[in-house]
């Protein structure tokens, strides 16, 4: 039984069957990649996992609890953190403040009226946030306004914000989209480091085969809203069905 179990999930947008009978099981402490050509339903699937969309049928359970019908912030509190395609950070706030917010969310839950307390008294949380920034090599940038950083650093910060919550499952939506090769390689190195150092399950949606094959333990190939195959990277590489999905049908002569 995996930490995330997706059973028979289907989602329809008007006449378009975006997802149909998706079954997926993500094992604890693995990196599971979901790949597929454009329009395969990768993002729809991800949105079903984090509460942004509610599937028409099927079930999604995380660590034994159903996530269906829960709001995104409740799902996060269960232990799922999400990294977006374009880094979603608090642009107007400093890097340190960006880190403190998930720390508060983790400790105090979805809402707490802490209007009279002082930020500087929260030494425990400041410590935690600083350690995380140091781990990811961003401590020197802690007083910068987040929006003034480079895209690579924004991505790094977003990942740090997710990790500081110690999630059980980290969802990454095309973490290297629009990045230069060097930035992509940095991100891969960072994710590898995270995978080795922490007890964490990572689900990654990706376009870039280079990223997928350097990180994933298992790969699910999605095409036209249904999983085509699920296997280890080595077996996926030469799989005829995958080639077909990506390159079009082979012509019989």
């Amino acid at each position: 039984m995996g930490i995330l179990e997706v059973k028979g999930v289907g989602k329809r947008f008007g006449g378009l069957q975006a997802l149909g009978d998706v079954n997926l099981s993500i094992e604890e402490n693995t990196v599971h990649a979901i790949i597929g050509p454009n329009g395969a339903g990768k993002s729809t699937l991800l949105n079903c996992l984090v509460g942004k969309l509610i599937p028409d049928e099927g079930s999604v359970t995380f660590a034994g609890t159903s996530v269906l019908g829960r709001k995104p912030h409740e799902i996060n509190q269960l232990g799922i953190s999400r990294v977006f395609q374009t880094p979603e950070i608090f642009g107007d706030l400093t890097v340190m403040e960006n880190m403190m917010i998930p720390c508060f969310a983790k400790r105090d839950g979805a809402f707490r009226m802490h209007a009279i307390e002082n930020m500087e008294q929260e030494t425990g949380l400041i410590e935690k946030a600083s350690t995380m920034l140091q781990d990811l090599g961003m401590y020197e940038k802690r007083d910068m306004i987040a929006s003034s950083m480079s895209r690579g650093d924004k991505r790094r910060l977003e990942i740090a914000m997710c990790l500081v919550q110690e999630p059980k499952l980290l969802l990454l939506d095309e973490p290297t989209a629009g990045m230069a090769r060097a930035d992509t390689n940095n991100t891969i190195a960072l994710l590898k480091q995270i995978k080795e150092e922490r007890d964490i399950t990572i689900a990654i949606i990706e376009h870039d085969m280079h990223v997928v094959f350097s990180l994933a333990d298992r790969i699910t190939v999605l095409a036209q809203g249904t999983p085509l195959v699920e296997d280890t990277p080595d077996n996926i590489k030469g799989h005829p069905k995958v080639k077909e999905a990506y390159l079009g049908e082979t012509q019989q002569v």
Binding site: Q85, H114, N118
Partner: protein
Amino acid sequence: MLGKKILGLNKKDTRFLLIVIALTLLTPVLLQPFAEGSELAQFNGGYPDLMQKIAIFGIFAVGFNILFGLTGYLSFGHAAFLGVGSYAAVWMMKLLTMNVIPAILLAMVVSGLFAAAIGFVSLRRSGIYFSILTLAFAQMSYKMAYSVLTPLTNGETGLQLSLDDPRVLDRAIEGSSLPVTNIFGLAMNASHKVEVLGRVFTFNVGYYFCAVIAVIAFYVAIRLFRSPFGMMLRAVKSNQQRMTYTGLDPKPYTLAAFVISGMYAGLAGGLLAAMDPLAGADRMLWTASGEVVIMTILGGAGTLMGPVLGAGVIKYLENIFSKINESVLHSWFHWLPDGIEDVVIWVFARFTGEGWHLTLGVTFMLVVTFLPGGLVEGLKRLSKRIREGKTKRDKYDGSDPEHHPAPTKRVAGE
């Protein structure tokens, strides 16, 4: 002890608060720079009515800024809470006592509840829809105060004190004339005048009462700005999507900010009634809501001092410029040749007296265009200019706005 905090503020904030306290206490002197009877005496603003208004609208704007400056939610109906606060305070004076303390407490409670109800509905939407919803609610309140709620609001006449009010606690001491608002027997309209160097300074009980409340309100605002809660409110403004995916529910945060700022407005409304015990529906009109928006933006939204500055400037303009009529202008320009004098007076008359709104409009336009951060930004630039010396080197020296652009509001989306 190193790093010890006074009242929970750090060194910089403590110094800031002390400056604000000093300015507030000295306002009767600072706003009275011109000698009595001199040409410029009409620019003196140190009379109780104006000073009270500056303090009260300062509170209103500081509260408004907690919502607008921190969360970015632009309420266009905050005057409703001001009005409700006034009505509540006058009712307290009619039913219980002329002491202003219970009156302003009730004003805050009632406006807080009212804000919770309106906020609960309005905060389902954001951006322009939120603004329109709050505007609609405020206009509804205004219309209702004139129509169905007449028993509570006394309609167009406005809610006033009368001799046959119960006033349970004051029964025994009541005379044959209308009682005055007081704080434990000290009348709000009592003043002490001091004449120094030809200048007459008026120290008024009502103003000092408002000033003390304003300083407390300001102190609470500083604490709130520096608290984790204040940071969450800025997070709401910055990126709500990230906030929800970080496990936080933005709704209760925005609602709490809305209620707090509604209570500030109610407090201001209560104080207005405490200074002058009557309440009319006019206080809820949309122009009154617009005024607090202008105050906040003119002074600098999201800054602590900005709203107070904005309130001060607007109330000063309103009271001083509106008093300059044609005969005053005539006395200024009588030395000009007749034809030219008429033209000059005609031009100036557009900007003064009834036309003071034009002055306000031009000021507002200039500030928004050249100082997007409001008057506070202007002061900051000025003090920087003075500190770094007047020698302006090239634009690549010092801070470089081109390469460190001010953060812009980001629209979250995937």
